[in-house]
Each structure stands twice: as structure tokens, then as C-alpha cells.
């Protein structure tokens, strides 16, 4: 067992850190303040290969591993949680299911431009009446000749409107079990922006990650080609769950980055800020708080990297992913809250980055499975 990163991962981290510092950090505050999707930054990330890091080269990707991708999301999120989640949703939730479940034709047509950075991806499972309880979903897909016809709506969709390619989950069958209970069967579909009948509804006004575009998707007799069914008909729920296992590692990396970023800001602040004639970093309370914050994020980093390696090498990694996300998200929330506290009144103003980081951290406890869902996944595996 070895906890040191090899030279290529170290170099990749330097690359991501340098890019984050030069290209992302200067825009982070404005991105949040104006609730503006950072289009120019996304273009730069697309040009530099950040949008297909773990995808094999034969499909237009960079041919790196999950750990490298995780470090990318981590470094970006240290300075801007919005930018981190754009990469995470695109890679984990759109590229990954096409790579795992797509046909060769689907990979060539959709995965190659996504991984090359020519197209942006999104994933749509959540509906107004169905979050954690996926059975509440209403969006339907009906077979009609050579097409599937989609009707319904999705909400809280990350990269909405800006993404070109969407993975959409819809009910395709309702099966009655032996006891007469009706069970919905879902299927996954690849839908392109611009398809007639596919439009965008309201943009959410959020507490944090405010530059991330979160939209409602509307399907009104939206007709898509039959070959855009992703994986097997009726297996959509399994595809969604497996995809979210991977997505959780991306969000765990985002949470990790946000927490680490808050520590960086706080260390700088406590060295500068003087009270009672001394820098507040000279007080033991500050030192103990910082030690706890750093220890917590260090533990989170180990869990997130462990989950990344599990995804790289194991067929099933649900528990590792759930534990990493649960721990990293709660650590990020606790650490950013402490960071604001150590900044005092300044930390409560939008002039200081920790205020944004605390708002950004909160979502990591909610999306791609709430912390409660992660606990269900972990304990469910213990008691099965």
C-alpha cells in the first residue's frame, strides 16, 4: 500500500492547479454574483482536454484514469464549485453511461464529440414529483414506428440549456407484479438539443453553485430515433443507479475541493487578520480549528481517491462511492462553516470567497443522492 502519487499524477495535479489559479479563480466571484454560466472557461477546458479525462483515446478522450479526473474536479472546485460540477456532470453523468452502455454507433456519434470537447453533456433523472423516489417519475416514452416519443418534464438539470447532448430517463413500461402492484420500468435515451418538442423551462435560482446552469427540461411529443435508446429497454433504473455511483465520486471530489479551498483562504486570512495586537492565527482556538479542518479534509481526500481507484479497478463500487460522497460532503459543509466563522464578519460578506464556498458546499449534501440516500446505500449493503 502506497499513499504517494506517481509523477504523472503529480504533473496532472500541477496542470489542473495552474489552470484553476489562472483561468478559473479570477472569474469565480463574478460567476457567482451574476449567476452566469462560465462559457469561456468551459471552452478553454474543452480545448485543453479537461472534458474527456477518463475516456479512452479511441473515443476522443484523454485516456487517463478516474483518479486524474477526480483531481481535476478537486482542483477546479478549490477555487470555483460551479466549474467543478460542470466537468463532473458532463463526464460522470453523460460521457460515462454512453461509454458503459452505448452501442459502437452511439459512442462514435455522441461520445467522441463529448470527450473531444466539441459538445457538452447533461443527465436528466429528477422530476418535480420524483427525486430520491424514482418511482414517482412521470416522463413517458412511447414507441411509435421508428421513433420513441417523449412527453413530460425534468427539473434541476445541471448544464441544462448549455449542454448539447442529454441522457434522459423515461417510463417505457408498467409491469404488474404477482401481488398486483404496478412497477414502472424506465429506459434511458440520448436526446440532442434542438430536437423538435424538446425545450427548456425555468432556470433555477439557487443558494450556491450559482454559475451552474440548472434548468427544467420539457418534452412535448418529442420524437427521437429508435437507435437513441441507451442500453436495454426497461433497464433504465439500473443504468441511472450505476451512473450515479460514478457521479457521486465526482461530487465527492467537488466537495473535497470546496473544503480544501476554504482552508487555503482561511490560512491566508488568519495570518493577516489582527485582533488584540496579534494575528488571529496566533490564538490556540484558531490553530485547533484549522487542525480539525485539515484533518477532516485529509480523511475525505483518502476516501475520494480510494473510491476513484475502486471505480478504476472494480465492477461494483457503490459503497466506496457513497461513503466518499457522504463523508466529503459533510466535511465540506462543516469546514466551510468553520472557515466563515474564523473570518468573522468578513466571512459573512460576499467580498470573501469563503461565503460563496459555504453556499456551494451545501449542494454536495443534496444532489446525486442526498446524504440520507448515501446512508441507505451503505447500510443496505451491510444488511443484505
Amino acid at each position: 500500500m502506497d499513499f504517494t502519487l506517481d509523477k504523472k499524477h503529480e504533473m496532472a495535479r500541477q496542470l489542473f492547479a495552474e489552470f484553476a489559479e489562472k483561468e478559473v479563480k479570477p472569474l469565480a466571484q463574478e460567476t457567482d454574483e451574476l449567476e452566469q454560466f462560465p462559457e469561456e472557461t468551459v471552452k478553454k477546458m474543452q480545448k485543453n482536454g479537461f472534458m474527456g479525462i477518463p475516456i479512452p483515446k479511441e473515443y476522443g478522450g484523454q485516456g487517463c484514469d478516474v483518479l486524474t479526473y477526480v483531481m481535476c474536479v478537486e482542483e477546479l472546485s478549490k477555487v470555483c464549485g460551479t466549474t467543478g460540477v460542470i466537468v463532473s456532470a458532463h463526464t460522470s453523468l453523460c460521457c460515462d453511461p454512453i461509454l458503459t452502455y452505448g452501442t459502437e454507433e452511439q459512442k462514435q456519434k455522441y461520445l467522441v464529440p463529448l470527450a473531444k470537447g466539441e459538445k457538452l453533456g447533461a443527465f436528466a433523472l429528477t422530476e418535480p414529483g420524483a427525486g430520491t423516489d424514482a418511482q414517482g417519475a412521470q416522463t413517458k416514452a412511447v414507441e411509435d414506428g421508428d421513433s420513441w416519443v417523449l412527453n413530460g418534464s425534468k427539473c434541476f438539470i445541471t448544464n441544462g440549456k448549455y449542454a448539447d447532448i442529454y441522457i434522459i430517463f423515461a417510463v417505457t413500461d408498467v409491469i404488474e407484479d404477482a401481488k398486483g402492484r404496478k412497477n414502472k420500468r424506465f429506459s434511458a435515451f440520448i436526446v440532442e438539443k434542438g430536437t423538435p418538442g424538446f425545450s427548456f423551462g425555468t432556470k433555477e435560482k439557487k443558494m450556491g453553485i450559482r454559475g451552474s446552469a440548472t434548468y427544467e427540461l420539457i418534452f412535448e411529443d418529442c420524437r427521437i430515433p429508435k437507435e437513441n435508446l441507451l442500453g436495454t429497454r426497461g433497464k433504465g433504473f439500473a443504468i441511472a443507479m450505476h451512473t450515479l455511483d460514478g457521479g457521486r465520486i465526482g461530487i465527492a471530489a467537488q466537495a473535497l475541493g470546496i473544503g480544501e479551498g476554504a482552508i487555503d483562504c482561511t490560512v491566508n486570512f488568519v495570518k493577516e487578520r489582527k485582533q488584540f495586537g496579534r494575528a488571529i492565527g496566533a490564538f490556540q482556538n484558531t490553530q485547533f480549528q484549522l487542525a480539525d479542518m485539515a484533518t477532516r479534509m485529509q480523511a475525505a481526500q483518502m476516501m475520494v481517491y480510494r473510491a476513484a481507484l475502486a471505480k478504476q479497478t472494480q465492477r461494483v463500487y457503490s459503497v466506496e462511492a457513497a461513503q466518499a460522497k457522504l463523508f466529503a460532503a459533510e466535511a465540506a459543509m462543516a469546514v466551510t462553516t468553520k472557515a466563515v466563522q474564523l473570518h468573522g464578519g468578513y466571512g459573512y460578506t460576499r467580498e470573501y470567497d469563503v461565503e460563496r464556498m459555504m453556499r456551494d458546499a451545501k449542494i454536495t449534501e443534496i444532489y446525486e443522492g442526498t446524504s440520507e440516500v448515501q446512508r441507505m446505500v451503505i447500510s443496505g449493503n451491510m444488511l443484505k
Binding site: 504533473m11 496532472a12 496542470l15 482536454g49 483515446k57 484523454q62 486524474t68
Partner: protein, 260 residues
């Protein structure tokens, strides 16, 4: 077209400078980066590669770990890398360094050699032009831009207040300014490929036409007597005068110091 780019691994001064007790630079205690002017030179070469389908060989001289700058160059798009490393080459000044690197380059095919203007650790700006002299080829320093026209290069050379446009027949050597261009980022996949690539390593014995009197510390005519941190300037002189008197005062001072 074959381009050789010379790069140097230098201490990163971003987080301050660390000295040994004897006043020399404690390189081991500092992060290392590719020298900024050299990185710009590599970017100029990569742009020429995109236009003219050139092959880029990156050459560095240093300790065995200096291969990291070659990996970085690979990850940006360079094709081949040569590391010149040998204990007997250590402690070289600009004369010994340029003699050694020129000997290494004699082993290579090249149409154009690009170096950075100067390294941020030594700041001499001598090694690039000296390499050109050793090889007996035209040198154009302080390049702001480099274009290829047939068998010639057209270079915009930067001065404080003007630029010169110069033409030289290849093979030639150009030293580039960091301001010439913004170097591209490495790509993640490029980094992974970089560690699969082979770096050519040459020691003293692989270098031809090189006199032992011109290598390493022994072959260096320059000796560093002492290196020290910059002495802080004292507080300036403060005077309160009306505008007319101020102008006279400043003019007198400038004359006194022979600035004008």
C-alpha cells in the same frame, strides 16, 4: 523541418528563494519549473510545428531529475527529448554550459534552434547566443515572433522602444522572450503519454568535439564569489515642495545621478 528547443529546469521563485548557509541557492528546497522564456520558446516551436509539420527535439542539461522538464515539454507537444547529465558537467558557468549543449546539439539534425532569452536563476542571457557561436550559425536574440520563409527565418527582435525585423538563413539560433507568446497548457492525456516516452540520456562520453577544459566547474572561467539575498533599499527621501520647485528638484536629482 527540425527544431531543437533548449530548456532549463529552474527553481520556482513564486514561493520565495531559499539559500544554503554558504550563500548559494538551495535548489533542492525549492519547487522546480521550466524556465519561462524557454517555455515561450517551446510554444513558438509548437506553433511552427503546427504550420510547417516540424519535428521538435527538446534538449536540457541538468541533474537526472531534470527529465521532468522534458516530460512537461512532451505533454505540451514536443516529439523527442534529450537529457545531458553527468557529474563531470556539474557547476558549469555559461561558457561550459554552452560548450556542452552545443556538443550535444552536434549529435542532432536541426534547421532551427530556439532557446529562451535568459533563465530566471542566472539571468545572464548568454547561453543561447554562445551555443550559436559554438556551432557557427546566425543568432537572433530577443525574438518576439518567428516566421519561416523558404530556407530563411524572419524574426521580430524586440528592443526597449522598437522592433527590428531580421532575416537569417537556416540553420540559425533564436532566443525568445517570455512575452513573445502565451505557452499552451499541457493536456491530461499528453501527460500520460509523456511518461511512456523515452528520454535520450547523454553523458560526457556521448558528446563529441568537446574539450575537457571546457566542461563542468573546472572548465568554467566564471566563479561565483558570493550570492546573497537582495539588500532592501532604505526609506526614500520625502520632500514637500510646490509644483515648480518639485520639477526643478527632480531635474536636479536626475542630473546629479546622470540619468539625463
Amino acid at each position: 523541418m527540425k527544431i531543437v528547443v533548449c530548456v532549463k529546469q529552474v527553481p520556482d521563485t513564486k514561493n520565495g528563494v531559499v539559500f544554503n548557509a554558504d550563500g548559494t541557492l538551495n535548489r533542492a528546497a525549492m519547487d522546480k519549473v521550466m524556465n519561462p522564456d524557454d517555455k515561450a520558446g517551446l510554444e513558438v516551436a509548437l506553433q511552427l510545428k503546427e504550420k510547417y509539420d516540424a519535428e521538435i527535439t527538446v534538449v536540457t542539461m541538468g541533474i537526472p531529475d531534470a527529465d521532468a522538464v522534458l516530460r512537461e515539454a512532451f505533454a505540451m507537444g514536443a516529439d523527442k527529448g534529450v537529457l545531458i547529465t553527468d557529474r563531470v558537467l556539474g557547476g558549469a558557468d555559461t561558457w561550459a554550459t554552452s560548450s556542452t549543449i552545443a556538443a550535444g546539439i552536434r549529435n542532432l539534425d536541426y534547421d532551427l534552434i530556439i532557446t529562451g532569452r535568459q533563465a530566471i536563476d542566472g539571468d545572464t542571457a548568454q547561453v543561447g547566443p554562445q551555443i550559436g557561436e559554438h556551432l557557427g550559425i546566425p543568432v537572433i536574440s530577443y525574438a518576439k515572433s518567428v516566421e519561416v520563409e523558404g530556407n530563411n527565418i524572419i524574426v521580430e527582435r524586440q528592443y526597449d522602444d522598437r522592433t527590428h525585423k531580421l532575416k537569417a538563413a537556416m540553420p540559425a539560433l533564436v532566443t525568445c522572450l517570455a512575452e513573445a507568446t502565451t505557452p499552451r497548457y499541457m493536456t491530461p492525456g499528453g501527460i500520460f503519454d509523456a511518461f511512456e516516452k523515452e528520454v535520450t540520456v547523454w553523458g560526457r562520453n556521448d558528446l563529441k568535439d568537446l574539450d575537457d577544459a571546457n566542461v563542468g566547474l573546472a572548465g568554467s572561467p566564471t566563479k561565483i564569489a558570493k550570492a546573497s539575498d537582495k539588500v532592501r533599499k532604505g526609506a526614500g527621501e520625502k520632500v514637500t515642495l510646490d509644483p515648480t520647485e518639485s520639477v526643478k528638484y527632480i531635474m536636479d536629482k536626475l542630473n546629479e545621478k546622470h540619468v539625463i
